[in-house]
């Protein structure tokens, strides 16, 4: 494969931060201790929808041990203004209200006030002394209900913004209407031999990272603010803080701590501005850490959805047309990833005629946020399930169908984007050729399903600094927080560029004052985009080394070659990297280089999954017997961590498919805000997860990297419901296919 000529890329070195992480030394967000530090607690709304009539903090303020109390009015008022956070935009007016509510609370758990005290217990007690008078309003919890004219409206300032530019006159819950069209949809369906149209529902689900949100802030006496926090984007935290507090960015330094999972949920700020306000008021550093219930109730899960898909194919199984209506629950404020769902829903296929309508709809649930390939899992569940029914109707092998219709280089998506070099077909072929697919599955109540998925991956901007040390090692300063092994994957790319060992690179994720700008760790972009920055830094270091050697040898730069970590000159002159490094200080200035990236866009990633299940027809419980993931990963830099992404993403998709959901009562209270009741997969629920790394290099990256992190979450629900259908003959069109729901369908059959 592509990696054969590489020395470092494709190997499996121990990650640089490994020892700290297996010994407990790694400093995660909540681990920080500062001298004089106070602990904070947040008062949250008990109602899903209410007007705040008054807030009285006087009792809390005078409680012994309390140093500061803040409410929404401590934040500067915001105008309607959109801030671009790299991956996704946010309206500051809404973001500010989400951080601390002002006039209204829009979901249970919405932050209303906060306290800083000597210890966490005092802070929690004091929040109970804050008196909030609410006028309770009826909540609306379902996306279709919220779209009705008579539904309670959450935000006075929200009008429907359609892509054509016109706005609705009255306040509404429907914040956005996306519309995409390709070809002539009517003609497409006329040409079809079989047309299937189905409705799908998915529940609100959470990223479920094990580390709760946290933020420690020091508003120093000189006006400088430092934030220690676990985040996917320290520069995004800085930007949001500056916007929310109306301060210049230069006043704020963000120190990214180790991050215990994010999956899209740790980009938006929640606690950071509140900790800063508490610190300002108390004159002391303040630490805020969420409890698990708040993580569920008050951060940004992925939306529940309603999706209607109609697809048609001719007698030979060629798709002729595809249409989708996609409505997402944005939560309290607009901004669901419904546009991403629109981009992904038919992306696996060459669809000649298509139409997609997408709606972003406010409901009284927490403001939704990105979750690993945001929107794509919902989309794949619906579209791939229809594909499975078309295959059944045509009596066609689902692998053959996918090979026949697979999108490839040059295919234009319904939303208009034309694909560069992609590997959809190759992932289907990998499944077709896998032992798993070729094996026979025997036994009662057992079934096999396959499904494909797509994620577009993003490029965005990165900066790194690399510094040569006299002992031949290179320090690498980066600003992309390392959420799953990117210190290793970036160091390996620098090592490959320089021709040295991965172990000779010393990577460090540093604060926002210590490295150039970096966009978020998200969109499966770090190994790709920061990788390009690292490569550029490596090339610049090589250039300077060549110049230095030319000087030492008194030869022309053109006569010096850099190869395999060695410099060679005329007459057999040669230095190893190490020998040269030892001469640096004696022969000139230090070698410190930078690398940046930002103009490249990724080509997108595809995966095809195959799963065997066994269903217990008496309980509706589904056991996953065998699971195989084939994914186009471009060039796999560190295959073990690539496999890990595939396995972890698939596991999340399995949880989404079989168990996970927010259960609400009619008042809009989540009834299962614990890990006991919101059940993510445990190791008892899963088999070993087989991986097939398909390498179709992305030509835009010097080593052919393609983002791998997100796409593996998309196919599992569709693959699982296809397998369940094979096993027990019922088609689950609502997620999760949890035991009670599946049992209900089995009994109805």
């Amino acid at each position: 494969m592509a990696s054969t000529s590489y020395k470092v890329i494709g190997t499996r070195p121990i990650r640089h931060d490994g020892t700290d992480k297996v010994t407990g030394r790694a400093q995660f967000g909540a681990d920080i201790q500062l001298s004089g530090m106070l602990f904070g607690a947040i008062l949250r709304s008990p109602h899903a929808h209410a007007r705040i009539k008054s807030i009285d903090i006087s009792q809390a303020e005078s409680y012994p041990g309390v140093h500061a109390v803040v409410t929404g009015t401590d934040l500067p008022e915001q105008q309607q203004k959109v801030a671009h956070l790299g991956e996704g935009d946010v309206n500051l007016y809404h973001l500010s209200q989400n951080v601390l509510a002002r006039q209204k609370v829009l979901y249970k758990g919405h932050a209303v006030a906060a306290v800083a005290a000597d210890d966490i217990h005092i802070a929690q007690e004091a929040t109970q002394l804050i008196n909030v008078e609410y006028e309770v309003l009826p909540p609306v919890l379902d996306v279709l209900e919220a779209m009705q004219d008579e539904a309670p409206v959450l935000n006075d300032d929200v009008r429907t913004d359609s892509m054509a530019g016109e706005e609705s006159k009255d306040p509404t819950n429907v914040a956005k209407h996306y519309f995409y069209e390709k070809g002539n949809i009517e003609k497409g369906f006329e040409a079809a031999h079989v047309v299937i149209e189905r409705e799908y529902r998915t529940s609100t689900v959470h990223q479920g990272y094990i580390e709760p949100h946290n933020a420690t802030a020091l508003w120093n006496q000189d006006g400088q603010i430092t934030i220690w926090t676990s985040t996917q984007g320290s520069f995004m935290v800085r930007q949001q803080m500056a916007d929310l507090l109306k301060l210049p960015e230069s006043r704020i330094k963000v120190v990214p701590m180790e991050i215990g999972g994010g999956f899209g949920g740790k980009i938006s700020v929640y606690l950071q501005p509140v900790a800063a306000l508490l610190s300002k008021k108390s004159g002391r550093p303040v630490k805020l850490v969420m409890d698990r219930a708040s993580v569920f109730e008050a951060t940004g899960p992925t939306p529940g959805s309603y999706i209607r898909v109609k697809m048609g194919a001719d007698r030979e199984g060629k798709l002729t047309a595809a249409e989708a209506y996609v409505a997402f629950e944005a939560g309290g404020f607009p901004g669901s990833p419904v546009v991403c769902a629109c981009m992904c829903i038919f992306a696996c296929y060459d669809v000649p005629h298509g139409r997609i309508n997408g709606y972003d709809v406010c409901v009284n649930k927490p403001r939704s946020n990105a979750y690993r390939a945001p929107g794509s899992t919902h989309a794949a569940f619906a579209a791939e399930s229809v594909v499975d029914e078309i295959c059944e109707r045509l009596e066609m092998d689902p692998v053959e169908f996918r090979l026949k219709n697979a999108a490839q280089e040059g295919t234009r998506r319904v939303d208009g984007v034309q694909f560069a070099r992609i590997g959809m077909k190759e992932t289907v072929e990998a499944i077709r050729d896998s032992e798993h697919w070729k094996s026979s599955l025997e036994g009662k109540y057992r079934g096999r399903g396959i499904a494909s998925g797509f994620w577009f991956n993003v490029g965005l901007k990165s900066s790194v600094t690399a510094m040569l040390a006299a002992d031949g090692t290179v320090s690498l300063l980066e600003g992309s927080t390392d959420i799953g092994g990117t210190r290793a994957s970036l160091s390996m790319q620098l090592a490959e560029t320089l021709g040295i060992a991965a172990e000779d690179i010393k990577p460090a994720v540093v604060d926002t004052d210590s490295v150039g700008y970096n966009d978020v760790t998200g969109g499966s972009r770090v190994t790709f985009s920061t990788g390009i920055a690292v490569h550029n830094a490596g090339l610049e270091m090589r250039r300077q080394l060549i110049e230095r050697v030319a000087n030492i040898w008194e030869v022309k730069v053109e006569d010096v070659q850099y190869e395999d970590g060695k410099v060679r000159g005329p007459g057999g002159k040669e230095f190893t990297f190490r020998e040269l490094a030892a001469k640096i200080h004696a022969t000139g200035e230090p070698i410190t280089v930078k690398g940046t990236s930002g103009s490249e866009n990724q080509a997108g990633a595809f995966g095809t999954h195959c799963v065997d299940v066994e269903v217990d027809p008496e309980t509706g419980k589904v056991d996953v017997l065998r699971y195989t993931i084939a994914q186009d990963c471009g060039t796999a830099i560190h295959p073990a961590y690539v496999e890990g992404q595939m396995q972890g993403g698939a596991a999340q998709g399995i949880g989404w498919a079989l168990n996970e959901e927010y259960v609400y009562d009619e008042h809009g209270a989540m009834r299962n805000a614990t890990f006991l009741d919101y059940r993510i997969p445990t190791c008892c629920d899963l088999p070993m997860m087989d991986t097939i790394i398909v390498e179709v290099p992305d030509p835009q990256h010097p080593f052919g990297v393609r983002g791998v992190g997100e796409v593996p979450i998309a196919p599992p629900p569709a693959a699982l419901v296809a397998a369940i259908y094979q096993a027990v003959g019922v088609r689950m069109r609502e997620l999760p296919a949890s035991p009670p729901r599946l049992l209900h369908q089995i009994l109805q059959r």
Partner: protein, 159 residues
């Protein structure tokens, strides 16, 4: 506020005294007072296993134990696992197998796995999965974690 108590325990082989309020958990004391932040807090109600420590050799959720209950107990935390001059075979195996991504769950898994291997030196895959089911990992899908424990078991058998 209730009066603070003095508690005497052994932590990572060293006799340790601390002061605590009756309502404080062992996890809180370990993290906030004793600066042993390797034990993580993921849920504080016994559901995630990130806070797992060994108490008299048994794996327990330190968020479910009151600090006062630790009186006289032998506690081992992740900070006590590695020998002075290297890593424990479990820690080694986690690194070799790339059994961690974000790493927040890792200390808890290593502690649970350590307790398991003390009791069952040669566990089957099923034993491992059953015994680690109280530890949640959201990043890895568990495949590499299970393999790491298998490798560590094999490595321990060899010495």
């Amino acid at each position: 506020m209730a009066k603070k108590r003095i508690v005497t325990t052994t932590i990572n082989g060293k006799e340790t005294q601390f002061l605590c309020q009756p309502r404080q958990t062992l996890l809180e004391i370990l993290r906030d007072d004793l600066a042993l932040t390797g034990s993580k807090e993921g849920c504080s109600n016994g559901n995630c296993g990130a806070c797992t420590v060994l108490c008299n050799g048994k794996a327990v959720n330190s968020c479910l134990i009151l600090a006062v209950e630790a009186e006289g107990a032998e506690i081992e935390t992740i900070e006590g696992v590695a020998p002075v001059d290297g890593l424990d075979s479990l820690q080694d195996a986690f690194l070799q197998q790339a059994a961690l991504q974000c790493g927040i769950c890792t200390p808890g898994f290593i502690m649970s796995a350590k307790a398991l291997l003390q009791e069952q030196p040669d566990p089957s895959e099923e034993d491992i999965r059953f015994n680690l089911a109280g530890n949640l990992c959201r990043c890895t899908g568990y495949d590499k974690i299970v393999r790491a424990v298998q490798d560590a078991a094999a490595a321990r058998q060899q010495v």
